[in-house]
């Protein structure tokens, strides 16, 4: 009976099934084949022997990674970059949205928004290129400005101390306006009557922000914050990779750039896969944790 039912279901939906086949093929080839390929992290993969004939080595690559003192530096770099980027980059769009929300002139507001979205559509190469050029101590605009004000020449990109600041500045520059969209939408949903009532009760601007605006924004803020926390190990690889120069390795070498270096540049496929797997497993755990927390706070899951 059950069998007949599923046959009928299949016959009934055969055209729908046809429509979904290309997507399934894409999924299998480009998402699930690599997921299966992750197994080479536990093998000594050699391109000549192929996947099946490469010998199993268990946790050897993971042990090597943890025995290498440099690994801790890369993990630390990844975490620091991520935490700083969260600490500066997360509040920025909220503050921006709050300021924009106070603007009553519609055209002015629209102008600021339109302009602030623009960098979101530039490629990472363009943004990194712009920062590199504008920060150049000899020919860049920022360099010239600093020279004018009597500062010493600073080689921002060649100096490991500045890598994180530049990375985060470029990230905020690119995503400030875009990140504010969600908050602006949440702000327009606040009932104006709340503010009117507060004014009658004698609440000033700060009291209104503290007792009405922020509590109304809180659910959005918490969901987005948890989502970000779940991505802590997932730093914008392309940006770090492009800002990386031999002279700022000290701070710019993060796990993912290390994976690229060991895997693609030195063909150390198995070892690099193991390092990458370590990174994505931590990420997955953090994300699941974030979702559990989000459910507790909001009775709403991220997905």
């Amino acid at each position: 009976m059950k069998f007949q039912k599923s046959i009928k279901r299949l016959a009934d939906g055969k055209y729908l099934f046809m429509l979904v086949i290309p997507a399934v093929i894409c999924l299998l080839l480009f998402s699930y084949l690599p997921m299966w390929g992750v197994l080479i992290a536990f093998k000594e993969y050699s391109p000549f022997k192929g996947f099946a004939d490469s010998p199993w080595v268990g946790l050897k690559h993971f042990i090597n990674f943890f025995n290498d003192p440099f690994s801790y530096k890369y993990i630390r770099n990844t975490l620091l970059l991520s935490v700083y980027s969260l600490a500066w980059g997360f509040p920025a769009p909220i503050i921006f949205a709050l300021m924009l929300n106070e603007v009553s002139n519609v055209r002015y507001k629209k102008l600021v928004q339109t302009v602030s979205y623009m960098p979101h559509f530039y490629s990472t190469v363009v943004v990194v290129g712009l920062f590199t050029m504008f920060l150049s101590p000899t020919s860049g605009e920022v360099g010239k400005l600093m020279a004018m004000m009597g500062f010493e020449k600073i080689y921002f990109l060649a100096d490991a101390r500045y890598f994180r600041s530049i990375y985060i500045a470029s990230e905020i520059w690119q995503s400030l306006g875009w990140g504010a969209i969600i908050y602006l939408a949440a702000l327009t949903n606040i009932d104006p009557q709340l503010y009117e009532a507060a004014v009658i009760d004698g609440a000033g601007r700060f009291k209104r922000m503290l007792y009405i605006t922020l509590p109304c924004l809180m659910p959005t803020i918490i969901v987005l914050l948890l989502l970000r926390l779940g991505q802590v190990m997932n730093v914008g690889f392309e940006r770090a990779f492009l800002f990386q120069t031999p002279s700022n390795y000290e701070t710019s070498q993060i796990i993912q750039t290390y994976v690229y270096e060991r895997g693609i540049r030195s063909n150390n496929f198995s070892y690099a896969t193991a390092v990458g797997l370590f990174n994505s497993v931590i990420n997955l755990v953090l994300l699941l944790l974030a979702n559990t927390l989000s459910k507790k706070f909001n009775q709403a899951s991220l997905w």
């Binding site: 290309p22 300021m99 602030s116 490629s123 290129g129 020919s139 520059w173 492009l242 895997g263 496929f269």
Partner: protein, 290 residues
């Protein structure tokens, strides 16, 4: 809204900050335009600010005449057009099918898609998979792996899920099957969402740098972003800020770099009004449904 006492300290601070934000978002773009259209002598003397001095098109002639940049531009356009078409075909049809409860294996496929949002094989296994599939160094390595983005699919699926059933029902009465309903009824009335998702895919391919770097090896196949990176980040000449063109004229490196950047973002700027309108909508749908 409530009337404020306008001329207080916070009003000044807020507007100062907002105008500062506009300035730092816009200035680089305007300065790049100004430099790239200026006569080289003013650029070398550092005299160009926000408007060109000694207007000239020489730099652009040089940049657009560069064979490498021209090839890369052509490659990018091919990748974007082909990639977007393929991605839209795959995503739209799958999103429509998966929005129906009747779809066989729909539940499993939805879960499979969801999993890809949280876990992926990573850089090296993907690279090896592309090699194993014999796609390395071919156009297909650029246009196929990104053809199904879980995020875009979910946005589209939630759009189709709210599609009025009466229209589909009327099609069925007229004897159309699912394919016919999708093609004749649903697609013509869903152009807005298709355009949105198409722009998502198109911009992503236009801006992608690492995928082609990883999957391509020949200069002749490189898209614009890779050539752009080579022009902008690596000094063309080792120790000087200037290069000398064939005519013996000195050309500042900055002019070349800025002009190349401008050339690469002009198409994005041209579709920007559409981008802004549709993307904001897309972000909203995604955030509510996601």
């Amino acid at each position: 809204m409530i009337k404020e006492n306008r001329l207080d300290f916070w009003w000044f601070l807020r507007n100062f900050i907002l105008i500062f934000i506009i300035a730092i978002m816009l200035y680089p773009f305007i300065h790049m335009l100004a430099v790239s259209f200026s006569d080289t002598i003013y650029v070398l003397r550092n005299e160009v600010g926000i408007y060109p001095k000694g207007f000239t098109l020489d730099i652009y002639k040089l940049v657009l005449g560069d064979k490498r940049i021209f090839t890369a531009y052509k490659n990018t356009i091919i990748y974007v057009v082909l990639g977007t078409v393929i991605a839209l075909l795959v995503t739209t049809s799958a999103a429509y099918a998966l929005s129906k409860k009747r779809c066989p294996f729909g539940k499993i496929i939805n879960i499979m898609i969801l999993i890809t949002m949280f876990f992926s094989g990573g850089m090296i296994p993907s690279f090896l998979a592309i090699n194993w599939l014999k796609l390395y160094d071919t156009i297909w390595a650029i246009v196929l792996p990104g053809a199904l983005s879980a995020w875009n699919l979910i946005v589209m699926r939630s759009f189709f899920a709210e599609y009025p059933e009466e229209i589909e029902e009327s099609g069925r009465i007229d004897g159309l099957n699912d394919l016919g309903i999708l093609w004749y009824l649903v697609l013509p009335t869903s152009t807005a969402v298709i355009a949105t998702i198409g722009l998502f895919y198109g911009v992503a391919i236009w801006n992608s740098y690492f995928t082609p770097l990883l999957y391509l090896s020949q200069d002749s196949k490189y898209p614009l972003q890779i050539i752009l990176q080579q022009v902008v980040m690596k000094s063309i000449s080792a120790n000087q800020d200037v290069i000398t063109s064939s005519g013996g004229k000195v050309i500042p490196e900055d002019s070349i770099k800025f002009a190349t950047i401008i050339v690469s973002i002009v198409p994005i700027i041209l579709v920007y009004p559409f981008l802004q309108k549709y993307f904001v909508k897309g972000v909203m749908i995604g955030s509510i449904k996601g």
